[in-house]
């Protein structure tokens, strides 16, 4: 069974665990980042990281160097490092400002695999590649600009620490070289190219029906790229054989994805449940979902959505909630601590899933993933517990 935690009554914009998974950094849709510590079966807020003066959009916790990077709509990013306080000697999180040189909101941030660089996506049609300058003791950035035409929504690093994938609101997913001479060794050739000076474009792929590219991800080997876009589709790109596999979903768009092995992906978004895709260079398909909605109503998809929504359903669900509020003064706000049975979705998450991240590894593969949602929940899923989707997808291939 998935582990379910309710972190807050506000949306969880972004979440990231520390290396041993005992602590969790979250942005609860506010200007502050919270560090939560696991105590038994609960997450207790222990530290507040306040420095940003607008909404924090993304957080990433580097597992080896134990540094946290946060970025925000205030166009800044901070690197937080745990250091002893000069007076008391207690460990506190010290922020370092990063000179991003962008004039629009920062949208997404990720440490590189070696944790010596990080990439900040932004609304300024640019991605800031930041590296540490020991002489001046600050983080400096170099901007990837061309040929980005709109806001960059997500970034993901290739395992070689040099290549970077980016998904953008100009409906394209791209692979760039983020090679920084002072930091990186000369990378060995990959399927994406061999000569890789900064800002080399190693690949550019359009979303199939004009949707913003919400999520990008390299496979564990780095040889395959997946991207999910707002036209309810997910595409998997093999640069070698020029093969692009696109799956058009019958459901709402995905906004976040993570590879769990070389041949499977977990992705989630507006449909409130994580979907599993599996395949290889020959072809990809939807394998099912991790959210087993086995309940008396399981044959029905989410209330209010999907095929079986008939006129009869108006008597229940959201309609009844508003009618009761109107005629009898009763209120049951969806998403509150005790939603009535009628307004509760069949899925575990009660609203859009904002982020999917790896949680537990075994060998080279990921065995558990965590998701955070607009409903304030954090859920940890076993990626092998795949359930076929009901109905016409029942015959889908299962791994």
């Amino acid at each position: 069974m998935p582990e379910v935690y309710t972190l807050s009554q506000t949306p969880v914009t972004s979440h990231s665990f520390n290396a041993d998974r005992s602590q969790l950094a979250v942005s609860l849709n506010s200007n502050d980042a919270q560090i939560l510590t696991r105590q038994g079966s609960e997450w207790v807020p222990t530290v507040t990281l306040s420095e940003h003066d607008k909404l924090i959009t993304s957080i990433d916790w580097a597992p080896n160097s134990n540094r946290i990077v946060t970025c925000s709509q205030d166009r800044n990013a901070y690197v937080w490092q745990e250091q002893p306080d000069l007076e008391t000697g207690k460990l506190i999180w010290k922020p370092t400002l990063v000179l991003l040189r962008i004039n629009r909101a920062a949208t997404h941030v990720r440490w590189s695999p070696k944790e010596d660089k990080f990439a900040v996506a932004s609304g300024a049609r640019a991605i800031a590649i930041c590296s540490f300058d020991p002489e001046n003791n600050w983080w400096v950035s170099k901007l990837l600009k061309k040929p980005i035409r709109s806001t960059v929504l997500s970034v993901d690093w290739h395992p070689n620490n040099v290549l970077l994938a980016a998904g953008s609101a100009d409906m394209k997913a791209r692979v760039f070289s983020a090679y920084i001479k002072e930091v990186d060794e000369r990378p060995s050739p990959t399927v994406w190219g061999s000569k890789l000076p900064f800002n080399t474009i190693c690949g550019e792929y359009s979303s199939p029906a004009g949707g913003w590219v919400h999520a990008v991800g390299f496979s564990p080997s780095g040889d395959v790229l997946a991207f999910a876009s707002h036209d309810s589709s997910i595409s998997i790109v093999y640069p070698n054989g020029q093969a692009i596999h696109t799956i058009r979903l019958p459901s709402l768009p995905l906004v976040s994805l993570t590879w769990t092995s070389e041949d499977s992906i977990v992705a989630a978004g507006h449909d409130c449940r994580p979907l599993v895709f599996s395949g290889s260079e020959g072809g990809w398909q939807e394998a099912g979902t991790l959210d087993d909605t086995t309940s008396p109503r399981s044959a029905e998809p989410r209330s209010g959505f999907g095929p079986s929504g008939s006129v009869g359903r108006l008597r229940t669900g959201a309609f009844a909630t508003f009618r009761d509020a109107d005629t009898r003064g009763q209120s049951a706000i969806a998403g509150s601590a005790s939603p009535t049975a009628d307004t509760k979705l069949l899925t575990i998450h009660q609203n859009t899933i904002t982020e999917v991240r790896p949680y537990e590894y075994s060998g080279g593969n990921i065995t558990k993933v965590s998701t955070s949602g607009v409903d304030g929940m954090l859920v940890i899923w076993d990626v092998n517990a795949v359930v076929a989707l009901t109905g016409r997808l029942g015959g889908a291939h299962l791994r």
Binding site: R149, G210, G211, D231, S232, S233, R248, L249, L252, P307
Partner: protein, 156 residues
């Protein structure tokens, strides 16, 4: 109040403005060619309808349907042919017909249903027929199909 300033095209003062052809791939075909093609399809649809081959007629009219700028006439001819098909199909047959279409064709069909609903009273548009098709198409292709209609800039 003077609100003519709202009509000013501010994009022409921005050297870096995003143009339509950067957002989507424009149709490589010449507008005249597209128009000729649409007219030919109109004939093909009539003969397929005479044989009562509705999936065939829909595929003919929806494959490589005109999109983008400068092909308004071709778009209207295509819409006209499509409406003829939709209006002549028996409501009990719709689900079967929709299931037999390819996912691409389903997406294009959804675009035309929305185009039709946006032009009430034009030609022989019937709201109830369009809503009937919309319901059946959503049952088969899911809400993802509607999402793609909304995001796709290749407007029919």
């Amino acid at each position: 109040m003077d609100n003519s300033f709202r009509k000013i095209d501010i994009d022409i003062y921005d050297e870096d403005a995003l143009r339509d052809d950067e957002i989507y791939e424009t149709d490589p075909r010449d507008p005249a060619e597209v128009l000729e093609d649409a007219k030919q399809r109109q004939g093909a649809v009539r003969s397929l309808l005479a044989k009562n081959d509705i999936p065939g007629a829909l595929t003919v009219v929806l494959e490589n349907a005109p999109y983008g700028a400068n092909v308004e006439e071709a778009k209207m001819i295509t819409l006209q042919s499509l409406l003829t098909i939709l209006n002549t199909t028996k409501s009990t047959e719709i689900t079967g017909v929709v299931k037999s279409l390819s996912p691409d064709t389903q997406d294009t069909l959804m675009k035309y249903i929305y185009k039709g609903m946006a032009m009430p009273g034009w030609g022989d548009i019937s709201g109830s027929v369009l809503l009937g098709w919309h319901e059946k198409l959503t049952e088969v292709a899911g809400v993802g199909c509607i999402v793609r209609t909304m995001t796709d800039r290749r407007i029919v």
